[in-house]
Symmetry: C2
């Protein structure tokens, strides 16, 4: 896959060869989605080769029974995973009686394009069947951004060297499984399989969680551009339904199927109405017609690109890479529904269960905050607010009481659903990023009201957690936090992880500061919060005490904060001295060896310094970067971006660009040979940050927006847009100048290299 | 189960009620074994209630496919487990057509006795069937110590209130499963089911490991003491074979079946001869006859008790408890076969896979060394010697090379078969106990030759491990050992566990000392060892360097060795202040809470001080005992014994007795509500140590045998025997005196309370 497999193009992802080895990888890369649902680039027609079939509906999950070797107290019984949803794309094709199957057919002129500007997937090829018949196929499909519940396919067949019979059987199928099911079970129960006139419906229900989905389809045909109809034969099975149509065609004819499909689900409609709503939706979609749906799709995405696009001049692969990332992020999450969130693989695979991680707060919120209106980021915050009581239950299970909250490491519905003790129980720093995201949001949007209205409850419940989770060490005469795993998951069960302790200390101070401010400025909210969360005055004092006396591991000798207690007992050997044959260490070394080594999976101390860059001078930042980066193996997709940003800040352009390259085309070039499992959606937000916050130098501390734009020497120029408090700003940076353009009707104040500028409406400032 | 369920008796384990809730627990407690095979006390006749069927053959295991939630590099693919072997005890009984099943029958006068002196299991009861027929049943069975491959059952039925038909169908059945199978599979493949005259055989083979076993049976009958014969009807199924006999009996008759059975297996005979050897063995057993087999059994066990018995006067429950432990240890391992070892549950259940742990070296060797001739302990050492190359492979898998050995945490054949990273990869202290066992053996037996002949290779391979596993800390200017789990498994992945570091340091010094001594005194062995293990002179220097500079965590403030780095950061709250509702913490607390607490599962620092008591003065020992014991929860069955021994040494008789009580009747009184899963065989050796080394004060440092006998105030007197270098010594201790009797023909030198005595042959010394 690496290198030249994907054709460089500014706006499209293109492949022009058919390689059976790469089918599953391309299924991930060419995925489409619209926030409501997603679809891997599985072929419509039958395919007997390797494939990971994947159709997904946002928020529909299944709590699979946990599989462990050795049970530990407190493990969750279930691991919630995103469900493979009923197949809506399938079309069986027979040419003169022979099944069209690319695995057994001679395939020529294969071409596939994911057009990111307009958000559609096209595929065309010529197939020569073993009966000698040659057909040319073109399919084009989309998941409508305008009509979220609608998917549409245009599928054309042209007989090249024969006249004869073509049999087309579009179908829907609920007899699907998850490949990652722990016990190889079916997760769907079929309630009804039904045809109504020329529409077909399957009503199915997820086991345990009881989500009900009506999957529907409706088909139209044209021959050489003229609508035609044909008699259908219905094949109704226990879990699927197909409509079989037979056409007699002549050489050179073009037979086209328009397949309209829909998922209608019980989170949005009463169960008893699902099939009727599905019917209405299908009929409406058919009335709109495929061509108009395609136009609407272009319009919807034009609006998205208007604020989200980044342009890079002089490097088409970089341009393709960043647009791919922005495109996939927008396909995954649109921000309209606070019940949804961003899974690390979005709608492109099963791995990581499609659930929510701290990736959202640490990496995704800045992207959505800057490229959408503030409601989107707010919805991401509200997602956690709505799950606060579950986070309190979760802490209780671990013996931490009195309304303290521990947000889960991995969740679909607020409950923890991961089960490695060293992660689930110990990677508690995730709690800190929940508060950081609130802080970040308020700084950027100036929507302080969010804190008294919602955020404070989360902040105080997390403060309660830190106070109990820390303990006083008589030996150190400080509060310590024992037995944690930091962001660097190549350490487990360490004491006093600097990042965790620093974040906890900051959380506690932030809680004190805000509760006092709310008491003064929002007395009604204060009263409500105190009552609802049973807050005692003495608790605030406790928060302050623990914050003031929090221990932070530090070494005099090197004048450095230490990743954790005892870090300097390790042998410190830079990654550059590790033989290539021993990397990635997570594949080459046993776990104990990784743990006792100095090697860092992803930013840990540096993650903290990135979050709180305003707390450290450049000299301190550089000293820590120079110590930790050389022993960092970047074996998490979330690692390079943070390092790229800091390197930009520290004027280390080569390092910044090296790190940027490792993140920007991670999936397109399949660096880690795992793209077949799905895309790294959340780290795509990190790539966006590498440009906007890294090269672009955007910061939003202290309610201010500041920039320190730089540019890699490999590029001619780049530009990006952001939505800042309702104003659209465009930032352009070439090798010689920087331009800031205010595309809106309100003036905006910014800082560039520490100098203040006021951008008047529709005006540009050149620097 | 606790308290009065088991009837106190000096020589027998007795129950006299039938409680369906206790069937599985009693199946464990009343287990029989002869080192070659073992049998849970399952009923011979059909039983439809809860039961854990268990027949086991020493050394026959199955590598079950590992089940984990999250795979870590280096995990073994298989978890070897002891196999449930074909059922040889089964007898279907029908009384006038009705099946005898204690689960559905009215049972009266139930009585079960495990006679430990003579090693047989008896069961008698009256059953009233639903057809009104009352029968009196008595069964007696044994696994012959003399004819190891033979099991025999005498099963008598007396019709009490009717004359009619009794149908008896003895059978053998290879259609058995392990309850702990990870994927609910069958582990046996049936090769042949066969009857030859009045014998039946099943030849079956374990999947994957390919052990072949011929299970055979032969049956005889008597009526009112006179041999009778009956026509048999053969029921041959795919996996089992039964011989069905029908007898017409009169009220008051006594019909008796003598069932002789055998396992013949491919570790001992060529596969093609197995069934013929089984045939010969069955015919021979039948010729010897049941009564004579029973007599031989008594004779065999008389010899065992001659050297192994401990007598306690004035406490029948203590007497019963210690004899039960000695009995079970002797049923589990007889020391004749260096391919076998001692599983934590022996032949009494499936849990812990029936595999070998460091329990053998740390707890069992002292018992077998003192109660058997030295060949038995030597065989236990040779077991590890024979597995040295596998231990070297095991270390290589973890990246530790050049002939370094890491013995597995759990093994059947030398390969690691446990898969929790914090145990498998990190609980490396087990390596140290391999060397300690050699040291202990040589001290006791004075068989120094063992080291040049075998032991040195193990010692040097382990020294190589420590040298690589330690690393130099620039910060501490010492060698450190990072990322380990000590004996206290309530800590994971700690740095510088004192026990591990101390043991490693001692191992290294011991290696240097012995290799130098061998070079001088056993030059031929030296040459052989150097060549075979490719030993370089420089390595010896390295061992010394690392030993000399080994870091041992210590606190000035308290003048204490610390269990590990950072231990004093914990909140130190004695166990006595923990509410009862929170204990055992391994059931009540989440794993992270246990880890960051100060609570100790089993002796850790104190285990080291117990091993090397001669390195520490009493004041030091007491200081550490007073610090660590109060925070020890003793939630491992191996914990109380070590603490009991140290408490005895430190003249803390109440603590010593309290700890002794927690170990002595652990299974008989089912303290932990888990005896249904099997007995705690290895911790039984710890109980023996609590008396002999604890109250009795036996030590064998520096090639000397010393005593410091004490007695709990609860006892009148106790005595035990030991085999010391071929001489049998009896030690008697009452409240007023101690007597040492030399029962052999050679004189023996001992120390009692630091004073030297020479015990002349057949003479007694009173102190």
């Amino acid at each position: 896959m690496k290198n030249n497999y994907i054709i460089p193009d500014e706006w499209s992802i293109i492949e022009n060869t058919f390689d059976k080895q790469k089918v599953t990888a391309s299924e991930s890369i060419f995925s489409i989605g619209n926030g409501y649902m997603g679809q891997r680039a599985n072929f419509e027609e039958d395919y007997s080769g390797d494939s990971l079939q994947g159709s997904y509906i946002g928020g529909i999950y299944y709590p699979d029974k946990t599989r462990v070797g050795w049970w530990k107290n407190g493990y969750p019984e279930y691991f919630a995973k995103v469900l493979n949803a009923p197949n809506w794309i399938g079309i069986h094709i027979k040419i003169n009686g022979e099944i069209l199957d690319l695995n057994t057919t001679d395939v020529k002129d294969f071409y596939r394009e994911l057009n990111m500007k307009e958000a559609w997937l096209k595929r065309s090829f010529t197939a020569v069947l073993s009966n000698g018949n040659a057909v040319q196929i073109e399919s084009l499909r989309l998941l409508s951004m305008q009509h979220k519940e609608v998917g549409a396919i245009r599928y054309s067949i042209k007989p090249l060297n024969f006249s004869g019979q073509i049999e087309i059987s579009p179908y829907i199928d609920s007899g699907i499984k998850n490949q990652d099911a722990n016990y190889d079970e079916y997760f769907w129960k079929i309630l009804k399989v039904q045809e109504v006139e020329d529409e077909a419906f399957i009503l199915s229900e997820t086991l345990k969680t009881g989500f009900v989905v009506c999957t529907g389809m409706k088909n139209k045909f044209s021959l050489n551009g003229e609508e035609v109809s044909a008699e259908k034969h219905v094949e109704k099975l226990e879990k699927s339904i197909a409509f079989q149509y037979k056409f007699e065609v002549k050489q050179g004819d073009e037979l086209t199927l328009f397949k309209y499909a829909t998922y209608m689900q019980s989170m949005n409609y009463p169960v008893e109405e699902l099939c009727q709503v599905a019917r209405n939706t299908l009929q409406n979609a058919t009335k709109i017609g495929f061509d108009r749906l395609l136009e609407l799709q272009k319009e919807s995405w034009q609006k998205i690109w208007e604020t989200a696009d980044i342009q890079i001049e002089g490097d088409v692969k970089a341009q393709q890479g960043i647009r791919f990332n922005i495109f996939q992020l927008n396909q995954t999450y649109t921000g309209e529904d606070a019940r949804l969130n961003i899974g690390p693989k979005g709608f492109t695979g099963e791995k990581y269960g499609g659930s929510t991680y701290w990736d959202t707060e640490a990496y995704c919120i800045p992207f959505y905050m800057a490229t959408k209106n503030k409601k989107v980021a707010k919805n991401l915050l509200l997602y956690r607010y709505h799950q606060l009581d579950k986070a309190i239950e979760n802490a209780e299970k671990l013996g931490i009481k009195n309304g303290a909250a521990l947000y889960p490491m991995v969740t679909m519905n607020g409950e923890e659903c991961h089960n490695e003790w060293e992660i689930t129980f110990e990677e508690i720093h995730r709690n800190g990023s929940m508060v950081y995201a609130i802080y970040n949001y308020v700084n950027y949007t100036k929507d302080y009201e969010y804190i008294p209205q919602y955020g404070m409850e989360v902040i105080l419940s997390i403060a309660r957690f830190w106070v109990q989770r820390a303990n006083f060490s008589n030996d150190k005469n400080k509060y310590v936090i024992l037995g944690v795993t930091g962001p660097n998951e190549y350490e487990n069960n360490v004491n006093n992880n600097w990042y965790t302790n620093y974040l906890a200390q900051w959380n506690l101070n932030f809680a004190v500061e805000n509760i006092n401010y709310i008491k003064k400025k929002y007395p009604e909210d204060f009263k409500r919060i105190v009552k609802k969360r049973n807050l005692k005055e003495s608790e605030i004092g406790q928060w302050k005490t623990v914050a003031d006396q929090m221990y932070l591991p530090y070494t005099d000798k090197l004048d450095l904060f230490l990743q954790q207690d005892g870090f300097l007992d390790k042998e410190i050997i830079p990654v550059s001295q590790l033989p290539a044959s021993e990397r990635p260490i997570n594949q080459k070394w046993s776990w104990d060896r990784i743990l006792r080594s100095c090697y860092i999976k992803q930013a840990d101390v540096l993650q903290g310094m990135f979050f709180f860059e305003n707390h450290f001078d450049d000299k301190t930042l550089e000293k820590h970067f120079d110590f930790y980066e050389p022993i960092t193996v970047h074996e998490s997709s979330l690692s390079p971006c943070v390092h790229s940003i800091i390197a930009s800040k520290l004027d280390k352009p080569d390092k910044a660009y090296e790190m940027y390259l490792r993140t920007s085309r991670l999936d397109l070039d399949d660096y880690n040979h795992e793209v077949d499992e799905g895309l790294h959606i959340t780290s795509m937000a990190g790539t966006w940050m590498s440009i906007v916050q890294g090269f672009g130098g955007l910061r939003n501390f202290d309610y201010k927006l500041s920039f320190a734009p730089k540019i890699p020497k490999e590029w001619k120029a780049y530009s990006y847009k952001i939505n800042y408090r309702g104003a659209i700003l465009q930032v352009y940076k070439s090798q010689t100048e920087a331009k800031f353009t205010n595309l809106s009707d309100v003036s905006v104040q910014i800082e560039v290299f520490d100098k203040t500028y006021v951008l008047e409406p529709q005006k540009m400032v050149r620097i």
